[in-house]
């Protein structure tokens, strides 16, 4: 087990280097030169001397590989430079918004787990019966609905018509209900279907036949033998789901005016605040890679066959 963890950690290094390299190169795709963009925003005159000065200040006069090493060295210490707009360190700005996004994503993730588990199990148990058909229909609808539209529908019915929940903003737990539900709903159907398929595959396994032959109660067979084995592939995909939800929060935050990094990112795009864009990408991707690694380790801990 320990060896597996080490191996998994080492395999992450080239991935992280590649990700950082791409994120670094992204900045150099900017249609205007970064030094000039910086000057334009700080209302400086983009004269030749001024641009040269900023280039030196930002280290843009060095060769590309030196810039990358410099940038990586700073990024590891969470120094992503200063925001072009607020002139404050980018990470400090991000930290203002990160808690809200994490709160939203984690709530949605828990909601997804709680709801998709029973739906998946019951659709497998009642395969092709009414419950399964309804859940299949919902999974088609859920996968086809744009998240932002669903958000507005929920606002219309639950906030404007029924007056149950606030329309937007962050504050009480009531504020959290609609945004997290919006974020979770598309994923619930996916995982429920996945769990159903996975359980159906396990129903035909010899060990299930044997468990029944031993005279175990059907409930024990389902929970201990079928469900436990069926959960493994679902856990892996659910780990990726967390990353997708974190990224998907950008849309939900804009629907519900939720003060998270997604909204911060969109305003950064319109302000051409490149360091913020870079930091947002790196943050999301780092979490995505880390969560996937943790999930792999959890799976290995649960299932000795993977190690």
């Amino acid at each position: 087990m320990f060896g597996f963890i080490i191996k998994r950690l080492v395999s992450m290094i080239p991935i992280l280097v590649g990700v950082s390299l791409i994120t670094f190169i992204l900045i150099h795709l900017v249609p205007v030169e970064p030094a000039e963009a910086y000057l334009r925003l700080s209302n400086g005159v983009p004269t030749e001397e001024a641009i040269q000065e900023v280039r030196e200040e930002l280290g843009l006069d060095k060769p590309l590989y030196a810039q990358y090493v410099d940038w990586l060295y700073k990024a590891v210490q969470l120094d992503f430079g200063t925001s072009f707009v607020t002139k404050r360190p980018v990470w400090d700005e991000m930290m203002i918004y990160i808690p809200a996004t994490v709160q939203l994503t984690v709530t949605a993730f828990i909601l997804m787990l709680i709801l998709s588990l029973p739906i998946g199990v019951f659709s497998a148990l009642y395969k092709d019966k009414l419950f399964d058909q309804i859940s299949r229909m919902f999974s088609y609808v859920g996968a086809s609905m744009p998240g932002f539209w669903l958000g507005f529908l929920l606002i219309y019915f639950f906030s404007l018509q029924l007056n149950l929940f606030p329309t937007s903003g962050k504050g009480t737990l009531f504020h959290l209900v609609l945004p997290s539900l919006t974020l979770a709903l598309a994923h619930i159907s996916t995982y429920a279907r996945l769990l159903r398929t996975s359980m159906l595959e396990n129903f035909n396994q010899p060990f299930v036949f044997y468990a029944r032959a031993r005279g175990l109660r059907e409930r024990t067979v389902i929970v201990k033998h079928v469900l436990k084995n069926a959960l493994l592939p679902v856990i892996t995909v659910a780990g990726m789901g967390f990353g997708y939800m974190l990224a998907g929060s950008v849309i939900v935050e804009n629907v519900f005016a939720w003060p998270g990094i997604g909204r911060f990112f969109v305003s950064a795009v319109f302000n051409r605040d490149y360091p913020v864009i870079q930091c947002y990408v790196l943050f999301n991707t780092a979490i995505f890679v880390l969560v996937n690694m943790v999930v792999d380790i959890v799976c290995a801990a649960l299932d000795p066959r993977i190690r």
């Binding site: 590649g18 795709l29 249609p31 086809s144 744009p146 795009v269 319109f270 999301n284 991707t285 995505f288």
Partner: protein
């Protein structure tokens, strides 16, 4: 057995239904100028936020533009952009995937590492980043989506090529002295393309959702072009009194995406009956 057949017929019905809807949508997109009762971008503030009437069957929006016309023209943008993204992605995927799978060697190694890295980004984040850096407009939206989309196709085609390479008829062709180009184009691609296309149909709904989502954020299609996601964004401040403004474009997105998903699912089941 009887039950199996019933499911098959049911699924074929869905296949036909989804094909009909998609054909109608494509027709609407092509004949939008004839079908639309008004110019979708004609602003007339004296007619703003009108209820449905004979001249404006679905009413008008906050700038007095005809909602029905905008929805009709929106078909062009959503389906057109999605087809464009898919077409370019599959083309790039075929070229790179074929090279990596057929030639192998260092090209394959470099390609696989690049895939590993590109797939470590959540897809939405990578397209958001590219649009953020390049600036939001139609061309950059397509670029951003293609850069995310081509990877799974290239990987899939590479895998299929690897399996195909070992088949006897390919070896026979090689021994007969057929050139690599002809082997790939005449003998390998025809076997691979159907599977790639089914995968593409399963995927196109996601691309349409991405386009409308990014346009909703203001990072995709730019005004005044009529696009469904943007129409929903425009109508959000009128949600309380004019919910229908938001309802129609959303229903269109859902209908189109669901049709493509159903079509992809049914085609996959037809090609691969073991999949449930």
């Amino acid at each position: 057995m009887v039950k199996m057949d019933r499911i098959k017929i049911f699924q074929n019905k869905l296949l036909v239904l989804s094909l009909i809807i998609i054909t109608i949508m494509i027709m609407i997109a092509i004949f939008a100028p004839i079908l639309a009762p008004h110019d979708p971008n004609l602003i007339d503030l004296s007619n703003k936020l009108k209820e449905p009437s004979l001249t404006f069957p679905l009413g008008t929006d906050h700038l007095g533009r005809c909602v029905l016309s905008r929805i009709i023209y929106g078909t062009q943008v959503s389906i057109g952009a999605a087809f464009l993204v898919m077409g370019i992605s599959i083309f790039i995927g075929i070229i790179i995937g074929t090279f990596a799978g057929y030639k192998g060697g260092w090209i394959d190694q470099v390609f696989m590492r690049l895939c590993d890295v590109l797939l470590s980004f959540p897809s939405l984040v990578l397209s958001l980043a590219l649009i953020g850096i390049l600036g939001p407009n139609f061309k950059n939206l397509i670029i951003a989506l293609v850069i995310v989309q081509w990877v799974p196709y290239a990987r899939m085609i590479r895998g299929l090529m690897l399996v195909m390479k070992e088949r006897h008829f390919i070896m026979a062709a090689k021994i007969a002295g057929t050139t690599d180009t002809i082997i790939i184009i005449r003998h390998m691609l025809p076997h691979i393309l159907p599977q790639v296309l089914v995968f593409a149909f399963l995927d196109i709904g996601t691309v349409i959702l991405h386009i409308s989502g990014l346009s909703f954020l203001g990072l995709g299609i730019q005004p005044p072009t009529a696009e469904w996601g943007m129409m929903i964004n425009d109508s959000k401040q009128f949600l309380r009194n004019y919910p229908s403004l938001m309802l129609y474009p959303g229903m269109m997105i859902m209908l189109v995406v669901m049709s493509f998903n159903l079509l992809g699912d049914s085609l996959r089941d037809l090609l691969d009956p073991t999949h449930k």
